[in-house]
């Protein structure tokens, strides 16, 4: 039983123009997307800038309104305000943002920042609240003294940990983490990712990890999807996607990741150019005439792997990279 299920989600923005400022068309930020996340798992959502991945995250937490489709939580559609209230959805689903400086109120002390969601959803006495904040800071490895400081007094990695503490404060079931480590240095990134795994184990939290970094997602996620142009091009387990990519877009992404073995350099470049040539030659085959990503089809020989491949390709045997 999944913790959350996104069904046929569409988020379209109207483009207005012309003399009467009428709707000329739509930007389809998210165009018919399905996904479901299991309790306690980290689900990966990979895409480049403008792919619509952040819009999905924002729609799940309710910052954006869907054009159509539903988000099912505990069996009910939480795109309806009534259900959100009844199910305490806003307490159970929290978010971590990329830019920790602009997402933490600069005029508030850490104490108040972390306690804010608690105050919204629970009635605790001052001492209970203080106790909880200290506990939360401890979980993300911050000293208790940080309670009385302001966000600017911390480094990027520390702020991101404060953001995690805030998100965890209401004991959520799901945290949407939108590029949580992409602004951080490598060594700090490692620390934040470790803390995310720790709290996941401790509280059985599910994560939706939105990232452009294929390395981070491979490290964190069992299941993931690759997104471009508002649609999923490929969905599967990490082995499905990284070892047996089917869609040309996935292959391009994988070929583009720099390899940390300098001996593979020539080979990597050659592979990249090969994929790039393949992409340029029959790009059209992978998209319909409106440049829309095709519908997902099951990849033969697997019940976890789906790819938006053309008809003729759908029966292709699963082969190595």
């Amino acid at each position: 039983m999944s913790i959350i299920e996104v069904k046929n989600l569409k988020v379209w923005y109207p483009i207005r123009g012309g003399f009467f400022n009428t709707i000329k068309g739509y930007v389809k930020a998210v165009d018919d997307v399905n996904l479901s996340i299991e309790p306690g798992e980290t689900y990966g959502l990979i895409g480049e800038s403008g792919s619509g991945k952040s819009t999905i995250g924002k729609t799940i937490v309710g910052i954006e309104r869907p054009t159509s489709g539903s988000i099912i939580y505990k069996g009910e559609d939480v795109t309806k305000g009534r259900n959100r209230k009844k199910l305490k959805y806003n307490r159970d689903v929290q978010m971590i943002f990329q830019d920790s400086l602009s997402s933490l109120n600069p005029r508030k002390r850490i104490n108040d920042i972390i306690a804010e969601p608690i105050r919204n959803f629970e009635k605790l006495s001052k001492t209970e609240e203080n106790h909880r904040v200290k506990e939360l800071l401890d979980i993300v490895g911050m000293p208790k003294g940080s309670m009385y400081k302001y966000p600017f007094e911390f480094s990027g990695g520390q702020r991101q940990r404060i953001g995690i503490a805030r998100a965890v404060s209401t004991h959520p079931k799901l945290i949407v983490a939108d590029e949580p480590v992409s602004a951080l240095d490598l060594s700090v990134q490692a620390q934040v990712l470790n803390y995310m795994q720790d709290i996941q184990k401790e509280f059985n939290i599910s994560f939706l990890l939105i990232s452009h970094d294929l390395g981070v997602v491979r490290h964190m996620c069992k299941n993931l999807s690759i997104m471009t142009r508002g649609r999923f091009v490929e969905v599967g387990t990490r082995e499905d996607i990284y070892d047996r990519p089917q869609h040309i877009y996935t292959k391009r992404l994988l070929a583009a990741i720099p390899d940390i073995n300098p001996r593979n350099r020539q080979e990597d470049t050659k592979e990249r150019l090969r994929v790039e040539a393949e992409y340029e030659n029959d790009e059209k085959a992978w998209y319909d005439k409106n440049h829309r990503v095709l519908d997902l089809k099951p990849v033969s020989g697997s019940n976890t792997h789906y790819a938006a491949v053309p008809e003729s390709n759908s029966m292709v045997e699963q082969g190595g990279k």
Partner: protein, 334 residues
Amino acid sequence: MDKEKDNVLLEIEHLHTAFRINGKFYNAVDDCSLTLRKNEIYAIVGESGCGKSTLATSIVGLLDPLNSKVKGSIKYRGQELVGLNADEYDKIRGEDIGMIFQDPLSALNPLMRVGDQITEALYYHTKDSEAERKKKALELLKRVGIPDPEGTFRRYPHELSGGMRQRIIISIAVACSPEIIIADEPTTALDVTIQAQIIDLLKDIQKEKESGIIFITHDLGVVAEIADRVGVMYAGQLVEIGSVFDIFEDPKHPYTRSLLNSIPQAGELGDRLHVIQGNVPPLSEMKRSGCRFAPRIPWIPASAHEENPSYHQVGDGHYVLCTCYQTFHFQEEK
């Protein structure tokens, strides 16, 4: 021997670059030396605040003269650059040394057509007529892989994508075929597929012009992809210098080893990543004596470090700062 001398493009010796913080000067680059040769991509890798961008900016003399001080020597083909005035530097910048920046949108003037921004570089270093400059600019646009050079020439920066803008920046940097290109995090703001294209483009241009590139980055993957030589920078110092194979296959300095260890790898799901303890102290609080990495590896005894760390040669062209590399082990290893 002469051949070797001919190959040396840039020789940096004991460079110190200091910034004024609350009235006092603190070294952001602290005694760095390196040599860039022809046909070589020299990567400087380190985390934010380590001084790598300051090092790059010092070379081209683009620091704010009121709030910074540069000491030491930067020689371009034997000519000393430290101490040049703005006019003298203007003759070298753009002509002998080109520069590529991190954020291609803010690095282009929003009110000027792309073409004019490219021809501007030619105007000050060539005697070309306007028509010749335009012809060259169109060739450059074609060379850096812009699909519609004529149309792009007339466009404004905001009308182009991030990858296209970075190609424009590259075309500006190489307009006068400089011998040296300084690239400061040129792919950080780009998507991976675009990053790969830009890396391939830079490699091609480097080969074609036989230029030397100083490539500043925080991304070890990019280093492995592009660099010939690597300098690993920590707290204003180059803690390890070596060929790209030295650094990735036989890293010596504890910092290099720790960094490589914290990259998420293809291992088992949920493996814990390696974390480097503590933080880099801010410039004004940094201890200036002893091994600067020592506080981050407290389980290594003080006796393992040098009092005044010096470079130790561990291989052909492979140098490490401080003796602590000899006894270093990760905390979990006994």
